[in-house]
């Protein structure tokens, strides 16, 4: 647990970066500090490992006042990941990862073995061990950065916008893997970002900071979306927060209807017969949905022959049977046929739902939950009402 006790940071020029911050980052959870630039989020983070010394107040690491611990000792017990990873360009990947264990005097062989293990954990192939950072992509470097921070198995990790310098696809990938990793490791994490979507996706609790280092709200993400403390938080959280809040509500058992799909390579006649409202879903041999085929124009273009992959519309997203309401709704809204595709854990077709069915589901959940709707209704909530 990390506890800020009335911590302030005032710079010599008079700027108040952090103003009497009171904050607890519980053990084993991800606490996200989010806010516009100049809100003191990075300053707050760096005060934890004393890269920046507070002007007043105390920061506790469990029952230790960090001010009483020698800085290098304190820092070796805290993992630290930054935006561009900050890898040592002159050391190989494995040597980068073993930096802290080496400082702690860990046996070299053991440290290397652990480094290779960590590389596998963060999704880096073992043959990268001997490479230099410049030979890796930004995303790969960031993976090394995470492995390096984990090398000495510190209970606490500080992460300063670790995923903001990579492209959106890689970012989403790194975020998902980060959540999976945290699920396995259960570290106490303080995570800084300026991106509210990232905060909501990753945080167990989100602290919204306002310019001048003032804590505006500290709450679980769903609560932040459904019940912002003031206009600043409401504005910062953004416009479509109602829709995003659906991302925290599991859809439960949706009224999935059977969809008559055809397989890739089937005859066009068969596709035509199976179509409903001019669209037919096409799957591969394992029943995994591949895309939608528009059948009303099929006959004119090429009346005979098999259904091929290039003519499919790939617009629709897939929602799994354990999806959130947001994913289910998105699946319906993005589908060219208006029917959202639901798949099982292995990606095989279960059936489809329409947007109005998902909306009905949302309203059922709202009615079941005690208002105001907080969005964190579990699958047990309104499930019994499902058809």
């Amino acid at each position: 647990m990390i506890r800020f006790e009335s911590v302030s940071k005032k710079y010599p020029d008079g700027t108040l970066a952090v103003d009497r911050l009171e904050l607890v980052a519980p053990s084993g959870e991800i606490t996200v500090l989010v806010g516009p630039s100049g809100c003191g989020k990075t300053t707050s983070l760096r005060m934890i490992n004393r890269m920046i010394e507070p002007t007043s107040g105390r920061i506790w690491l469990d029952d230790r006042d960090t001010a009483t611990v020698p800085t290098h000792e304190l820092r070796r017990g805290i993992g630290y990941v930054i935006q561009h990873a900050g890898l040592f360009p002159h050391r190989t990947v494995v040597d980068n990862i073993t930096t802290v264990p080496e400082l702690l005097g860990t046996d070299k062989k053991q440290a290397r073995r652990r480094a290779l293990e960590l590389m596998e954990r963060v999704g880096l192939p073992a043959h990268f061990a001997k490479r230099y950072p410049a030979q890796l992509s930004g995303g790969q470097q960031q993976r090394v950065g995470v492995a390096r921070a984990l090398a000495a198995d510190p209970p606490v990790m500080l992460m300063d916008e670790p995923f903001s310098a990579v492209d959106p696809v890689v970012r989403a990938q790194l975020q998902n893997e980060f959540l999976r990793l945290q699920g396995e490791l259960g570290k106490t994490i303080v995570f800084v970002t300026h991106d509210i979507d990232e905060a909501i996706k990753l945080g167990d609790r989100v602290a919204v900071l306002q310019v001048g280092g003032h804590l505006a709200q500290l709450a679980p993400p769903a609560e932040l979306l459904s019940d912002p403390a003031d206009t600043f938080v409401a504005g910062f959280v953004g416009r479509d927060r109602g829709y995003r809040a659906l991302g925290f509500a599991e859809a439960g058992l949706l009224p999935v209807r059977k969809e008559h799909a055809v397989r890739l390579g089937s005859g066009r006649g068969e596709a035509h017969d199976a179509a409903e409202d001019g669209w037919v879903l096409v799957t591969d041999a394992e029943d995994r949905p591949q895309g939608w085929l528009r059948t009303d124009r099929l006959a004119e273009a090429e009346p005979t022959g098999p259904v091929t992959a290039p003519e499919l519309n790939l617009g629709g997203t897939l929602a799994s049977e354990t999806a959130t309401l947001r994913e289910a709704l998105d699946s319906a809204l993005s589908s060219p046929s208006g029917r959202g595709v639901i798949v099982d854990g292995a990606g095989r077709l279960l059936g489809t739902v329409t947007a109005s069915e998902v909306l009905t589901r949302i309203e059922q959940q709202r009615a079941a939950a005690d208002p105001p709707f907080t969005g964190d209704v579990g699958p047990g909530g309104a499930e019994s009402e499902a058809s």
């Binding site: 070796r76 630290y80 930054i82 040592f88 360009p89 930096t99 230099y132 030979q135």
Partner: protein, 235 residues
């Protein structure tokens, strides 16, 4: 071959250097040897002195301007003056090669202080930050991060210093210190009426070859010390 016929010691053209070399082989090789260590050793000594000075200039920012300026001013002292004054300063004989070595060390320091200071400062901000955040002490940061990353910058300075020294050593030859510079004095003395080129050309060629060889040595050493840079350009 007709060219060989012209390679006589009496040949006063530049090509006469081959003949001149075979006639004065031992003497010239002896000078070459002196020239080599007088060029190389002061750079090594200068680097050893410049490293802590450069570190101080980096560590205590206010010392940077005075240190770097003073070092730069040292370089403006004419070398010949320094060679002549050195015996009085360190109490040696006038023709003692040590004078030249010490004087050239001064020049090397002058050149390298700034290079070391700038090299140590060339660590990217996020790397420096990560090093601090991982709990490296100031000393560990210097030895494990800042110094290794400064090697390319410092090596570039060392290359300049080595090559500059090769030509400065020759100046010392003109006041009688044994080295390749004496070939120029000899050539000048033998140029009675018309120029006598062989020793002069030989001196120039050997100086250039020596400079190239020493430079190559520094480049090779740097490459060995910085495998990570090859990886960068190779990818």
């Amino acid at each position: 071959m007709p060219l060989h016929d012209s390679l006589l010691a009496q040949d006063s053209s530049p090509f006469g250097m081959f003949g001149y070399f075979s006639d004065h082989r031992d003497e010239v090789l002896n000078w070459l040897w002196y020239h080599t260590w007088l060029s190389a050793v002061p750079v090594v000594a200068g680097l050893l002195i410049a490293l802590p000075l450069g570190w101080v200039a980096r560590r205590y920012r206010w010392t940077y301007p005075p240190l770097v300026t003073t070092a730069g001013l040292l370089y403006t002292i004419p070398s010949i003056a320094l060679f002549v004054a050195m015996p009085d300063i360190i109490g040696t004989q006038i023709l003692d090669p040590i004078n030249v070595a010490v004087a050239l060390t001064v020049y090397s320091v002058a050149l390298l202080v700034r290079v070391v200071a700038d090299g140590l400062g060339a660590v990217p901000e996020d790397v420096a930050q990560a090093a601090t955040a991982m709990g490296l002490t100031r000393r560990q940061r210097l030895l494990k991060v800042e110094l290794p990353l400064a090697v390319p910058v410092i090596a570039a300075g060392v290359r300049v210093a080595v090559v500059a020294n090769v030509s400065l050593v020759a100046v010392a030859g003109t006041i009688g210190v044994p080295n390749l510079g004496q070939l120029f004095t000899t050539g000048f003395q033998l140029s009675v009426g018309s120029p006598y080129y062989p020793p002069i050309t030989l001196g120039i060629v050997l100086c250039v070859l020596l400079a190239l060889a020493l430079d190559l040595l520094v480049v090779g050493g740097t490459r060995l010390a910085t495998p990570w840079r090859r990886a960068v350009s190779g990818s």
